[in-house]
């Protein structure tokens, strides 16, 4: 069987520590000019070897003039270069922006000390540090047969090595970069036709011809008047939120989440190269133009889900997963400098809601209580009459049947849910990148760098850490009596309420946040959050879920009929570390403050009272003056982590 061109191998040279292999006088990270005979190493014969020429090509060169590359593999190298550009975090084609130095390991915008911490665990970025390693690296071209093999074999190194060591391009892991390059390459390869005419070979995507990299992708800038030429090829990034109209009437109805997870897993397996990354309710896609979204999502739609998408269509030169934000912002602010470029390059941003095909005009009563989209059949259980359609009833009765333990009866329980908000993540990432750029010296045009930031790879890295953080939370909580209502579904948990348990859950949440996202501020802008919904066991799961769907802050707590609040990480630290030390004394004072506010409805009186008692209750003074935390909010938090309070009574 002939070997395939494996795009992921193009950057394998980035795992070489050149300082430890000085005899070879290595330069750059590609080996197209390496003298194999001099070093008595066999030159790889695999097609993937031609990927080493990806930096040898000038973007304006006609593919037919790429004399160094075997003509058979020129189209592969052509598509590899485009994929490499699409997957990078900062456009390769920006003018010289100065130098801010180099970094050995990857810098995560949400965890600056990530590489430092990995190093302290005896990990090192380079996979190839000796003569034998170098030989093994060249052998890898011929030995490895799939992208998965490469990702698995060098996993440990790829995760801590940056895609590009030069600062500020050091913000993406090489793992994610080559993973994305591989996926994008295979999508382009699948949909691209290689053709020949009198002038030689050319490539065609969506009916448009190109014979040079620049011709295919066009300019790389989204504003101004330089490097903004229209490209021949366009493609799409699509952000898909998988949603459902169902409401969970009984506990077993959460099986819908299992169904959702199964359908997404099946989608990801079927269309793995189109999927850049995914979550339990979100899929990020890279697609060529012309491929019908409804056809791809047919199975998911037929099961009653609907998909809320934002679709970005643009020239490859400017296409990025966050171009929608830039385009919409330019339209909103009527920024002509940007709009002129985006419009001349036929850039489109669509919002589409994909719904199932068979939507009836009307339904005769009764309608399904759960999905509210189908005619229902009457079902009676425990003297309660329900109307449920066959699909929803089947879901309720199949699969794992989670039920609350007997000893929880008549008690208060806590439902907890972790969330990752993608819209917040896009905004946070742009801000975090801006802060990083501002912190660096030696860069010439910081604004251009910020403007041309491509968030896809960083977004994907963040999602990987999100999965890790949630897994780690469960690992830390394995001795606590928290149950997963759906096995393998890590985002939700449920347990019997006790103040001590709430305290521990919050402590572990803060601990994992410190480990994985220490530089992502735990406030209302945080894309990562935890919500706790506390209520009597009889309180419907649907209402817990409804609360989770609207999580606003970093830590959201609702105790049904008692209070609902959000807390920042700083507030939590103060409330747990400082306030708790004197909570017995403080709570009386907090009650007094609340009474004062209820009676006079005046912030000034509260402020004066807190100032007058500043010496006696410094934690309350600090919380109120630093974070504007209201006395009621302080008291609610203190009460919810106290086991003996009346709040625990059912």
């Amino acid at each position: 069987m002939s070997k395939e061109f494996i795009a992921e191998l193009h950057d394998i040279g980035k795992l070489i520590d050149k300082d430890r292999l000085k005899n070879y006088q290595l330069r750059g990270h590609t080996f197209e000019d390496f003298d194999f005979s001099k070093h008595k190493i066999s030159k790889p014969s695999s097609p993937s070897w031609w990927g080493q020429y990806h930096h040898k090509i000038t973007v304006n060169d006609d593919i037919n003039k790429w004399q160094n590359i075997d003509a058979v593999y020129r189209p592969d190298v052509f598509l590899l270069i485009l994929s490499d550009h699409l997957a990078s975090s900062i456009s390769r084609a920006l003018p010289q922006l100065g130098s801010a130095g180099e970094s050995e390991g990857v810098l995560k915008l949400w965890n600056y000390k990530f590489y430092e911490n990995e190093k302290s665990k005896e990990k090192y970025w380079a996979a190839f540090t000796t003569d034998d390693d170098l030989k093994r690296m060249f052998e890898a071209f011929d030995k490895l047969n799939s992208s998965d093999e490469i990702l698995n074999l060098y996993h440990e190194y790829l995760l801590i090595t940056p895609e590009d060591k030069s600062i500020p391009r050091n913000i993406t892991s090489l793992y994610t970069h080559i993973e994305l390059v591989g996926k994008i390459f295979r999508v382009l390869r699948k949909h691209c036709e290689i053709k020949t005419n009198n002038n030689g070979t050319y490539l065609e995507l969506g009916g448009n011809q190109a014979n040079s990299i620049f011709g295919a992708e066009g300019g790389n800038r989204t504003s101004g008047n330089q490097n903004v030429d229209k490209g021949q090829w366009q493609a799409r990034f699509i952000k898909c939120h998988i949603k459902f109209p169902h409401s969970f009437v009984r506990l077993q109805d959460i099986n819908l989440l299992v169904k959702q997870a199964e359908l997404i897993k099946s989608f990801v397996t079927t269309y793995q190269d189109y999927v850049m990354f995914y979550m339990p309710d979100f899929i990020s896609l890279f697609l060529p133009t012309g491929l019908e979204l409804k056809d791809l999502f047919k199975e998911i739609l037929n099961n009653g889900f609907f998909i809320d998408c934002v679709e970005i269509i643009a020239d490859l030169g400017i296409l990025r997963s966050n171009l929608d934000i830039k385009t919409v912002k330019a339209r909103k602010t009527n920024s002509q400098q940007t709009l002129a470029v985006l419009n001349s390059r036929d850039t489109k941003v669509y919002k589409k809601i994909l719904t199932p095909e068979d939507v009836s005009e009307e339904i005769r009563p009764h309608i399904c209580d759960i999905c509210q989209r189908q005619p229902a059949v009457e079902r009676i259980k425990e003297n309660v009459r329900e109307w449920i359609c066959d699909n929803c009833y089947e879901l309720r009765t199949e699969g794992d049947k989670f039920s609350y333990p007997e000893e929880w009866q008549n008690q208060k329980i806590i439902w907890l849910k972790f969330s990752l908000n993608h819209d917040k993540l896009e905004n946070w990432m742009q801000e975090a990148f801006g802060r990083y750029i501002d912190s660096l010296n030696g860069l010439k045009d910081k604004q251009t760098l910020k403007d041309e930031f491509r968030s896809l790879a960083c977004h994907s890295d963040f999602v990987k850490d999100y999965f890790k953080i949630v897994k780690d939370f469960w690992k830390r909580c394995k001795d606590l009596e928290i149950m997963k209502p759906i096995s393998d579904y890590e985002e939700i948990g449920v347990c019997k309420y006790s103040g001590e348990l709430v305290n521990k859950i919050i402590e572990e949440f803060i601990a994992v946040h410190n480990d994985y996202f220490p530089d992502c501020k735990g406030d209302a802008h945080s894309p990562f959050s935890l919500s706790l919904s506390i209520a009597h066991i009889k309180y419907p799961v649907r209402e817990h879920w409804r609360y989770f769907e609207n999580s606003k802050g970093f830590l959201n707590i609702r105790s049904h009929n008692v209070f609902e609040d959000t807390y920042t990480k700083e507030e939590i630290k103060w409330l747990m570390d400082k306030l708790s030390e004197t909570e017995r004394e403080s709570s009386h004072f907090l009650y007094k403050l609340i009474d004062l506010y209820d009676g006079l409805n005046s912030e000034i009186n509260i402020t004066v009272e807190i100032l007058n008692n500043k010496e006696r209750y410094p934690a309350i003074y600090s919380l109120y003056s630093k974070f504007e935390t209201s006395p009621e909010k302080m008291l609610n938090f203190s009460r919810i982590i106290e086991e003996t309070d009346e709040i625990t009574k059912a």
């Binding site: 209580d369 419907p540 649907r542």
Partner: protein, 205 residues
């Protein structure tokens, strides 16, 4: 687009979301077109189209426990809890209803009109009073829809649906029967009068 804006004061109200199962019934935080239509038909005998919203900050959600009586068997059914809206920080909930009217309708018929809207009227919920009437004009913009309207009535509201989220609303055919008709739900992408929008958007169409 010209509309009639009615400001209402409401004591407390339950507009049940179309979720019937279980013993807990959530309450909508908007006034769908089916509710508005039903109320004005009952009180004025007019077939008026409209939708409404509650002013954020003038209400809070509380629970109301109620046991339905089976009139035939003379026994109480299992009690259920319904969420309902109560005034918060003021005496009454403030709401606004936007009505499609025409010149043939005398606007004065709405002046100080008292009506009852929503569910559990027998328990005192839904008592409302029109406190202000105003003819307003609204710019049509693209955005995310924040109300629920029967699909076959959207054009009457000056709404053009670009990408719909479908659902069903109950449509009363007479006092004892009705059907569920296809409706456009919140979250749909539309071009509509600005006050029907959760937020304006700038997508390609």
């Amino acid at each position: 687009m010209k509309l009639l804006k009615l400001d209402l004061d409401i004591d407390s109200i339950i507009i049940g979301e179309r979720v019937k199962g279980g013993i807990y019934r959530p309450c909508l935080e908007t006034i769908p077109s089916s509710t508005v239509q039903g109320a004005f038909k009952y009180y004025l005998g007019l077939d008026l189209k409209g939708v409404g919203f509650f002013d954020a900050g003038t209400y809070e959600i509380r629970d109301f426990t109620y046991s339905v009586k089976d009139k035939l068997l003379e026994v109480a059914k299992m009690p259920f809890i319904s969420s309902c809206l109560y005034p918060s920080g003021r005496e009454r909930i403030r709401a606004v209803i936007y009505l499609m009217t025409n010149d043939a309708i005398d606007k004065n018929i709405f002046r100080n009109l008292s009506l009852t809207i929503g569910a559990l009227k027998s328990k005192g919920f839904g008592k409302s009073k029109v406190i202000n009437i105003e003819e307003i004009e609204s710019e049509i913009k693209q955005g995310i829809f924040k109300v629920r309207v029967f699909e076959d009535e959207v054009s009457l509201f000056g709404v053009e649906v670009l990408s719909p989220v479908y659902g069903y609303l109950f449509y009363a055919r007479d006092s004892v029967s009705g059907i569920y008709k296809k409706a456009i739900f919140e979250g749909s992408l539309v071009r509509a009068p600005e006050f029907f929008l959760k937020e304006a958007t700038f997508y390609d169409e």
